[in-house]
């Protein structure tokens, strides 16, 4: 299929299959998104960050753990572009390797949270009744805590570390997903086509898994992209308060935490990872904001 015919297939006003309609919708979103320079800047930054993190072994000139005590707290120079930290380790190398951890944490949280939220929310919305009410109360309890405070308490209860931080953030992040999925389900549950499927004898599980979940996916993706920066910031704040990733792990928040005491005499040591957090979080926010504009017709100009 040539480029032009692919484009025509995607933009067809009369799609012949559900698949074509779906891809077509996504393509139109992409076209809209492309015209938003801020969102594109965000997207490109994210891609660059991911590539840099994946290529850390190739890009980093030093091992992230190689100590050189006699050359610690060196200012940025030709040998160490971003300087060295309190144990003489190359900050750039640590940032690159740390990107894997920080971005990996975000991915892990999303992978944990999105399916759980989706299944729980859709099931509750479709089944209704008592299970639904119990579920909504449970989400209320979790939503009743500011995210950081609940995560702090959880991590303190388990032991500080990356895994605990991921679990803690996931625990605090799932309720909104369940809520969104439930709302979507309620909206489509009584639609004609679900009723038709039900009459055709499809089981409850099948209806939820095959029909309801795929339809709720769209709004969930937006929510995820908007949530990314909040996840990064929560992970960083946990690291900063000494409850997240622990040294010598080059997780960005933990790097700031262990170097914050040098803010006056060697500002670059805590500031470089802080800037990295800021850039990543801003990029996700720009993308998410752009996506929302595109998906929310009310705000389109």
């Amino acid at each position: 299929m040539s480029d032009t015919s692919l484009r025509a297939w995607l933009l067809s006003d009369t799609p012949t299959s559900r698949r074509q309609a779906g891809w077509g919708r996504l393509y139109r979103l992409w076209c809209d998104l492309r015209t938003n320079p801020l969102a594109m800047a965000g997207l490109i930054t994210i891609i660059l960050l991911i590539v840099a993190a994946l290529a850390a072994p190739l890009l980093a000139a030093y091992s992230p753990d190689a100590q050189d005590l006699s050359n610690h707290l060196a200012a940025p120079n030709a040998a160490h572009w971003l300087g060295t930290d309190e144990l003489g380790r190359d900050i750039l190398a640590r940032l690159l390797w740390g990107g894997r951890i920080t971005l990996g944490m975000v991915v892990a949280v999303v992978v944990l949270v999105a399916p759980v939220g989706l299944v729980v929310g859709c099931a509750a919305g479709y089944i209704g009744g008592l299970p639904d009410r119990i579920l909504m109360r449970v989400t209320d309890v979790f939503l009743a805590f500011p995210r950081l405070i609940l995560a702090l308490a959880f991590v303190a209860a388990i032991t500080p570390g990356i895994t605990s931080a991921i679990i803690a953030i996931a625990l605090t992040a799932w309720p909104p997903y369940a809520r969104i999925a439930r709302a979507e389900t309620l909206a489509i549950r009584n639609s004609d086509f679900i009723a038709a499927t039900r009459l055709a004898g499809a089981s409850r599980t099948r209806i939820i898994l095959v029909h309801i979940i795929p339809l709720s996916l769209g709004s969930l993706i937006v929510r995820v992209s908007l949530d990314m920066s909040s996840i990064i910031l929560t992970a960083a704040a946990l690291g900063f308060l000494g409850m997240g990733a622990q040294p010598p792990s080059p997780e960005w928040g933990a790097m700031v935490a262990s170097a914050r005491r040098f803010i006056v005499n060697a500002w670059w040591v805590p500031m470089m990872p802080a800037i990295a957090i800021f850039v990543a979080s801003l990029a996700f926010n720009l993308l998410g904001d752009g996506l929302r504009d595109v998906l929310d017709p009310k705000q389109r100009s």
């Binding site: 100590q67 707290l73 144990l87 032991t159 000494g242 622990q246 010598p248 006056v264 005499n265």
Partner: protein, 532 residues
Amino acid sequence: MLTRRSVLAASAASPVLASLGAEDALAATPKNIVVMGKTIDDIVAFDPAQSYEFSDNEIDGNCYNKLVTPDLTTGTTVVGDAAESWTVSPDGRTITFKIRPGIKFASGNALTAHDAAFSLQRVVKLNLTPGFIITQFGYTKDNVEKLITTPDAMTLKLELPKQVATSFVLFCLSANVGCIVDRATVMSHQKNGDLGNDWLKTHTAGSGPYQLISWVASEHVILEANPHSALKAGVPRIVIQHIPEPASQLLQLEKGSIDIARDLLSDNLKQLAGKTEYTVLKSGQATSVYIGMNMGKPHLDKTEVHQAIKWAIDYEGIAKNIVPGTYEIAQNFLPAGLPGALTDMPFKRDVAKAKQLLAQAGYAKGFSVTMDHIAAAPYNDIAQAVQANLKEIGITVKLLPAQAKQVFTKMRARQHELIMSVWGSDYFDPNSNAQAFCADPDDSDKSTLKILAWRCHFHNVALTKMVEDAVKELDDKKRIAMYEDMQRQFRQIAPFAMMLQQNVVAVLGKGVSGLKVGPMPDYTKYADIRKA
């Protein structure tokens, strides 16, 4: 008595400031107040029968007198404080103190032998955390009134239930738990038979140069001169502000918002080098940083492994690059300054030797192990340096940093493998550390002595016996020789790598002088502080 508010109001009631400019808000501290920046969130209680943390002991040391106090110039004997003199019976079982006349409490009451007896008796009766320092002579709440008596108002008689070295008793009495409280004042605040414990937690009733005016947890402590004290305080009011961040302390010292910074780290000190307006005070502290190896865990039960780890650590690199000025290398269980301490350095980094020892133990290919440590500067950095050192001899260390109390909890439950931790001596006598590191008479969970040796399953009968013998030895010279011998054996066989000894460092701002820092918190003295 002046209330806190009235004095502060007086000091601040300068003419209604014509210049409500930023200058005022950032102004330096006033002349009659010395502001000290320090981490004080460890404070739990000021009652000498309960206080056991660094900051509360330090405050007590400035608010109370004890019977005796160590002679810090020699570090080997005690000198009289509230006691003018004392005599010891030939069998060493009775010590009789003469109380120095003329000492007065902050309330104006005279300090007598009754107060001294009451203070020691209530420590035994309450038996809180530091109570063991006195009860280890054999006192119980049933015999203490019979054995600690006052033949007259200025004479205190201590009859010892079992034979213990006199120097040991005297050094224990010089610990914070030996502070003499004002019996009349304390008993007037007694509630439900608590011997005034609840009130004394947040008040002081002593005869030292200062008295406690206000304590707000994790915020500040305010001390005011005790008008009746024999030792006159140089500054009427001392405010100790909780400033947890060393960088923040340094900044505020430079801005003149505080007069004394107490917790500066090596890097902060480096920034002050060459600035003559600051005075840096230093004193070795009876606080040791060590790595404990749990013999109940795989790989860690063999002496060769312990020795290999001791030979792998780069003591010099750590001391010189990570903690210069704030810690010194110390490889014996007695920190320098305490009676009997050895100061030689048997270990240095020798990778070949360490590898060979590991091979002898049967681990030529190395092994993996975890190390718990406190997640705070400088322990984080030291732990990471040790991790790199051990990597070179083939031991892969996974670091498990956590809050101090979590690290302690894990060690008390004997669940750690390697642990890097700190130990501060409880009193100025070699027995404190000797018992902690060497004595494990019963390695079972039912043991009544569960200190460091027990926590690492270091059940060594010979060393335990030496500790028990030394504490009974009446001849001081022989006793010291026993501790030296113990340290020499300990370094060959113990699962502890002694690494560093802490220095207390205090930096005084422009025009401030007279603070004395001591080897234990209660010997850091404020009375001579002056502000020009």
